[in-house]
Symmetry: C2
DNA sequence: GCTGCACTTAACACACTGGGCAATTAACAG
DNA sequence: CTGTTAATTGCCCAGTGTGTTAAGTGCAGC
């Protein structure tokens, strides 16, 4: 996890239901680590580590208020995810299904030519 | 990786640049395992396993043509990703930045009430 | 049936993940 | 100074991921 590209780090961070739940919670506003951990059947250190993963992925910012570390959502990396998915929208959107099929077929022909 | 939810499996599959490159290649149409492996500085078995990960995530379908396994893109799982990201769009889209801030603040007030 | 090609599986190494508890740091409250 | 609360870090363990090479499987063609 040392020098992974942003997109990989973001996807990896999102590939865990606990972390996605943390993000969902943070949509409702700031929360401390203990507050965030409360709903989970999991130790505080475990949640703290999940938050660190999210933080390193740039999805969460931690502030400092005395002994509390109020966490805020930073959805910026999700913009990149959105852009990436956009490149595949033609392949999963209903209204684009036929277009996608045509694209794939036409490009397959080009491939065979080469 | 046994009984992971679809979204987690999809995100995990996407959290690897090699696999994303494989998907990008498959946008241009069917390809065999060897064809797919060709651009990578990586053994064939390694690529084969990457494809298996994509297959188990439902992102790739493998056919059977004699000794070849033509792989096709199946972007259906990405629809779910798109839906998920949509839930955060208000937090990263320029035009929604102010709205998101308001939402977060208003919900933070509600939280404090409780 | 042997040989070759496409691909998968096996066996192994190694790093990372995610969970637990215990100990530690940091900051407030008396 | 002492004790409490918030949060992190260290250590251990089990499981998983990713790469290698070598062996196995399945199909085609002479």
């Amino acid at each position: 996890m040392s020098d992974v590209d942003t997109l990989s780090a973001t996807f990896a961070a999102l590939a865990d239901p606990t972390r996605r739940a943390l993000l969902a919670r943070l949509r409702q506003g700031e929360a401390t680590v203990t507050q965030l951990a409360e709903p989970f059947a999991m130790s505080l250190p475990a949640v703290s580590r999940h938050l660190k993963v999210l933080e390193r992925a740039g999805l969460v910012n931690k502030g400092r208020d005395a002994q509390w570390r109020p966490c805020r959502l930073d959805a910026a990396p999700l913009r990149e995810v959105d852009e990436w998915v956009k490149g595949y929208r033609a392949f999963f959107e209903e209204r684009y299904d036929r277009l996608a099929a045509q694209l794939a077929e036409r490009r397959a022909e080009h491939t065979e030519e080469a």
